[in-house]
C-alpha cells in the first residue's frame, strides 16, 4: 500500500512582519499622487471619449472651464439649462474675456500668451454654448484649447 507523505512540519502562516512596510509604501504612493481638488464642480460631468488624445505639457499654464447642466441639488436655484463654471461660480459667456485676463494675470508675463484653456464639457451640451465660449476666447486671445476627454477603450 502506498504511503502518503506526512504533512511537512513547515509553518503555513504568511509572514506578516513586513506588512506595515508594504502598507506604508502604498500610503506614500497615494499621498504623493493625490491632488486635492481645488474647486467643487457644480455641473454634471459625463465627459466624452476619444482616441487621438494629447497630453497637456505644463499644468501651470492651464485654466479649466466646466460646462454642463447644474447638478441635481442645484437645479432649483439654477435651472436645467447647461451652464459654464469657472473657478467656483457660474459665469456668462460675455464675462469670459474678464475671466481670461484674470487667469492670465496669474501667470508670469512671458507665459501669458501660452495660456491653455481646458474645456471639460458634458456630452449632452449643445454646440451653441460651446461655440459661444470659443468666440469669447478668441476675443480674449486665449486660443489654445484642449477638449478634455477620456480614453476610448474600443
Amino acid at each position: 500500500m502506498a504511503k502518503f507523505k506526512k504533512k511537512s512540519e513547515a509553518s503555513q502562516e504568511i509572514p506578516t512582519s513586513a506588512l506595515p512596510d508594504i502598507i506604508f509604501m502604498l500610503l506614500f504612493f497615494f499621498m504623493v499622487t493625490t491632488v486635492l481638488r481645488e474647486t467643487t464642480i457644480n455641473v454634471r460631468q459625463s465627459i466624452p471619449a476619444a482616441t487621438e488624445l494629447r497630453k497637456l505639457q505644463r499644468k501651470s499654464l492651464v485654466s479649466y472651464l466646466y460646462m454642463g447642466k447644474p447638478k441635481q441639488n442645484l437645479v432649483g436655484t439654477f435651472g436645467t439649462e447647461p451652464k459654464i463654471q469657472a473657478n467656483d461660480v457660474f459665469i456668462n459667456p460675455k464675462d469670459l474675456v474678464l475671466w481670461v485676463s484674470q487667469e492670465k494675470d496669474k501667470l508670469s508675463e512671458v507665459e501669458r500668451d501660452q495660456i491653455t484653456i481646458a474645456l471639460k464639457v458634458d456630452k449632452e451640451v449643445k454646440m451653441g454654448l460651446v461655440s459661444d465660449v470659443q468666440l469669447e476666447l478668441r476675443n480674449a486671445n486665449a486660443r489654445k484649447l484642449m477638449y478634455t476627454t477620456i480614453t476610448d477603450i474600443n
Binding site: M31, R54, K123, K126
Partner: protein
Amino acid sequence: MADIAFLLLIFFLVTTTIANDRGLSMQLPPKPEQDQEIIKIPERNNFKILINSADRMLVEGEPLNDYREIREMVKDHVLNNGRDENMSDSPKEAVVSFKADRGTSYEVYIQVLNQVQGAYYDMYAARAGVSNKKWREIASDIGNPENKRIYDAARKDFPMAISISEPSKIGGN
C-alpha cells in the same frame, strides 16, 4: 502601527481623483479683423463635413452614418495629389472644413474632430516614420529640440488645415 497606516491609506484611496489632463488639442483662429478679405478655396481642395441639429452628417454632399469612415476619407482627400479631380491638389492646399449646428451635441462634434485629427496624425506619423501614438507624444512635447526637428520636418508643406466654421442656427438654443 499598521492599523494607523491602513486608516490613512484608505483615506487617501477614497479621496484620490486621478487627474485627467488628456484631450483633443486645438488652436482657435485669431480674432477676425474688420477688413479681412475672404479667401476662396477651390472646391476640389475643400473636404466638407456638415452636421445638423439632429446629429446627422453630410460629408462631401453625401449622408454618412458612421463617423469612423471619415478618417479614411480625409486621408484619401489630403493625399490625393491631383489624381482624382474631385479631391485635393496637394496636401499643402487641402482643407477640411467642418461645420456644426448650434443644436449639434458636443459628443458628436468631438467624435468627428477626433476622426479628422486622427487622420492627420496618421499621415504625420507615416511621414515621420513613427507610430501614431509616438507622434502624438512628440507633438505634445516640442520643447525638446529633437522632437521639434521631427515635428517640423513632418509638418513641412503639410499643414493641419481643419477649418471649423461658426455653427448655423437652425436647431438653435
